[in-house]
C-alpha cells in the first residue's frame, strides 16, 4: 500500500495558542481512517489545514495520488482540483440551489468552456453543458439521489442533506475525502444508513477517506485505523481494537468529562 497523503510536522498557531503541534501521519491509498479526540483537540482545525482553509504555521502536507505535490499553502480550490475534497461539520450546502446544481457546481472545474463560448453559445458550449447534465444525473443515480435532482437542497431532510454533501464532495472527482462528523445530529437509524453509505462509496469508488466522528460505534465498525488527537497532538495511531484499550486514549476521554466546557474549534 502506498501513502496518498503525508502530513509532516504540521504546526498551527492562533496568536499564542498552539492548535496543532507537530502532527505527522500518513494516510494510505484506499484506507478508511478515523480521526477522533475530545472536544477542542484540533480535529477540525487539522481538516481546515489539510483542505487549505488555513495555512499551517510550519510543516508540510503532501498529496501523492497522481504525482507527488506539496499542497500546504495552496488555495482551497486548487487542492480540491488536485483530488482532495471535504464536507463540513455544520452542513454547508448551496441551500437555494437544486440538488442537481449543487452537484454541477462541484463539477465546475471539469467543464471546459470559456466565458466567450458561454456568451455566444458555441456548439462546444452546448456539448459541454449537455455532457455535464448527463454526467451529473448519472452521478446522482449512482448515489441514489437522482429522484431529488430538481428539489432545493434546503428542502431535503437532514439525513439526505448530509448524504448530498458527501456526494457533492465526491462529484469533484476527488479520490481523497475528508468527512467532518457526518453523523452529527443523526438518530441511530440514520447513523446506520450513513455508515452503509460511506462503506459503499468507499468500496465502489475506490476512495481514501479520513473521517472525524464522535459516534464511537460508527468509527469502530467501519474504519481500519484510528488516529487520536488530544490538545493538538497525535497521541495514538493504531487499529481500532488497540485504540479501545490504549491507556492514553482512555485518559484523554476521561479528562474530557472534567472539562466539558472546552468547545470545539
Amino acid at each position: 500500500m502506498s501513502s496518498v497523503l503525508q502530513i509532516k510536522r504540521v504546526n498551527k498557531a492562533f496568536g499564542g495558542l498552539m492548535a496543532l503541534s507537530d502532527i505527522s501521519f500518513d494516510v494510505n491509498e484506499g484506507e478508511l481512517c478515523g480521526l477522533i479526540g475530545p472536544n477542542g483537540a484540533g480535529k477540525t482545525t487539522l481538516f481546515n489545514v489539510i483542505s487549505g482553509l488555513y495555512t499551517p504555521t510550519s510543516g508540510s502536507i503532501t498529496l501523492s495520488n497522481q504525482s507527488s505535490k506539496v499542497i500546504s499553502g495552496l488555495a482551497p480550490y486548487k487542492i480540491t482540483q488536485l483530488g482532495l475534497a471535504r464536507t463540513f461539520q455544520n452542513i454547508r450546502l448551496f441551500k437555494e440551489m437544486t440538488v442537481l446544481d449543487n452537484i454541477k457546481v462541484a463539477m465546475h472545474s471539469q467543464i471546459q468552456t470559456s466565458l466567450l463560448d458561454t456568451l455566444i453559445r458555441t456548439p462546444q458550449y452546448r456539448k459541454e453543458e449537455a455532457r455535464i447534465e448527463s454526467e451529473a444525473l448519472t452521478f446522482l443515480k449512482s448515489v441514489k439521489l437522482d429522484h431529488l435532482a430538481q428539489k432545493k437542497a434546503s428542502s431535503l431532510p437532514y439525513g439526505q442533506q448530509r448524504q448530498l454533501e458527501i456526494a457533492r464532495a465526491l462529484a469533484t472527482q476527488a479520490k481523497i475525502l475528508l468527512l467532518d462528523e457526518p453523523a452529527a445530529g443523526m438518530n441511530p437509524q440514520e447513523t446506520e444508513d450513513l455508515a452503509q453509505f460511506i462503506k459503499k462509496i468507499h468500496q465502489e469508488k475506490g476512495l481514501t477517506i479520513l473521517l472525524i466522528e464522535h459516534d464511537m460505534n460508527l468509527i469502530m465498525s467501519i474504519t481500519s485505523r484510528i488516529i487520536v488527537l488530544d490538545y493538538g497532538k497525535v497521541i495514538a495511531n493504531d487499529v481500532p481494537e488497540k485504540i479501545k484499550t490504549n491507556p492514553r486514549v482512555i485518559e484523554a476521554y476521561l479528562g474530557e468529562e472534567r472539562e466539558e466546557h472546552v468547545e470545539g474549534q
Binding site: 463540513f88 461539520q89 474549534q265
Partner: protein, 299 residues
C-alpha cells in the same frame, strides 16, 4: 521633507486646523464602531443622525432661544431617541437575515432621513446661528481659534465620558459582553435587546454633538450635510480597526489631519478622493485596521 519649501509653522497650523474636524470625525466614528461591534452592521444612516443633530440644535437655538449647551444636550437626547427608534423599527426585524439585507436597509434609512428632512425643512441652505465666540489667539506664531478649541475640548470630554460608560458602568459591561458573544451574554442574564438599543442611543448622541459642532464650524447646513462626513467617519473607524473604540478615535483624528493637509497643500477638490483612496488602501493592506487583529471565519 514632505512639503518642500513650506515653513514648519504653517504645517503645524494646518495640523492644528485638522484637530477640531478630526475630533468630530472621531465622535461620529465611535458611533459606527460601537454599532458594528455589537451587531456587525455598518449603520449607513449614522451620518444622517449627525445631520438631524445639527438641524435640531439649530431649531432649539433659533426658535426657542435656548443657550448653546442646552440646545446641544436636547439635540443629543433627540437623536438618541431617534437612533433607538430606527433600531427597533428597521434593524431589529433583520437581525436574523443576511448582512446584505441589513446593509441595504441601512442605506434605505439613510435616504429616508435625508428626504424627510428635505420635506420638512426644504432644500434651502440654513445657517447655523453664531453663538460661539470667534476670537483667535496667536500663541508662538500658531493661530488658535476659540471655536476650534471649544470643539476639540468638547469632543475630548465626550470621549472620556464614553470611556467611563464603557469601562465603569453596568451598561458598559453589558455592551462589551454582547459584543463578544450575544448568546452567552443573554445566558449570563444580560438584556441583549436593551443593550443594543442603548448602544444606538449612545452612538447617536455622540453623532448629534458632532453635528452641532460641524454646524457651528461650517455654518451652512443642508439635509445632505451628513453623508460625506458620515462616510469619512466610517473610513476613520475602519482605519483604526472597526469595533475598537481607541481605533475610532485615532482614525478620526488621522482622517481629519490628512484631509486638512491635502486641502492645504494639494487640492481641495481631491480631498474627498484621498479619503476614499485611504479607505481602499487600508482595506487591502490591513482590513482589520491599524489596531485590529485579523481573524478568519469559523468553519
Amino acid at each position: 521633507m514632505l512639503f518642500k519649501g513650506v515653513r514648519h509653522d504653517t504645517i503645524f497650523t494646518t495640523i492644528i486646523n485638522g484637530l477640531p474636524i478630526g475630533s468630530v470625525y472621531a465622535l461620529v466614528a465611535l458611533g459606527y464602531t460601537m454599532v458594528y461591534g455589537i451587531i456587525k452592521l455598518i449603520n449607513f444612516a449614522h451620518g444622517e443622525i449627525f445631520m438631524v443633530g445639527a438641524y435640531s440644535a439649530m431649531i432649539f437655538i433659533t426658535m426657542f432661544n435656548l443657550p448653546l449647551w442646552l440646545a446641544m444636550m436636547l439635540s443629543m437626547l433627540t437623536t438618541a431617541i431617534l437612533g433607538m427608534v430606527i433600531e427597533k423599527v428597521a434593524y431589529k426585524p433583520l437581525r436574523k437575515s443576511s448582512r446584505t439585507a441589513a446593509l441595504i436597509t441601512a442605506i434605505g434609512v439613510s435616504f429616508l432621513l435625508q428626504n424627510v428632512m428635505l420635506l420638512i425643512m426644504g432644500a434651502r441652505i440654513y445657517t447655523f446661528p453664531q453663538v460661539f465666540s470667534n476670537t483667535t489667539w496667536v500663541v508662538n506664531g500658531l493661530r488658535v481659534n476659540a471655536l476650534q478649541l471649544g470643539m476639540f475640548l468638547t469632543s475630548i470630554a465626550l470621549m472620556l465620558g464614553l470611556q467611563f460608560v464603557v469601562h465603569q458602568t453596568k451598561l458598559g459591561r453589558a455592551m462589551r459582553a454582547v459584543a463578544v458573544d450575544k448568546d452567552a451574554a443573554a445566558l449570563m442574564g444580560v438584556d441583549v435587546n436593551h443593550t443594543i438599543s442603548m448602544t444606538f442611543a449612545l452612538g447617536s448622541a455622540l453623532a448629534a454633538a458632532a453635528g452641532v459642532m460641524v454646524g457651528m464650524y461650517y455654518i451652512s447646513m443642508t439635509p445632505y450635510m451628513g453623508f460625506a462626513p458620515g462616510l469619512k467617519a466610517f473610513v476613520a473607524a475602519v482605519f483604526g480597526g472597526i469595533g475598537l473604540l481607541p481605533g475610532a478615535m485615532f482614525g478620526g483624528f488621522a482622517i481629519g489631519i490628512i484631509e486638512t493637509l491635502v486641502a492645504g497643500y494639494g487640492s481641495t477638490l481631491f480631498k474627498d478622493a484621498v479619503v476614499y483612496a485611504i479607505l481602499i488602501l487600508v482595506l487591502l493592506i490591513k482590513p482589520s485596521g491599524l489596531f485590529g487583529k485579523g481573524g478568519k471565519e469559523k468553519v
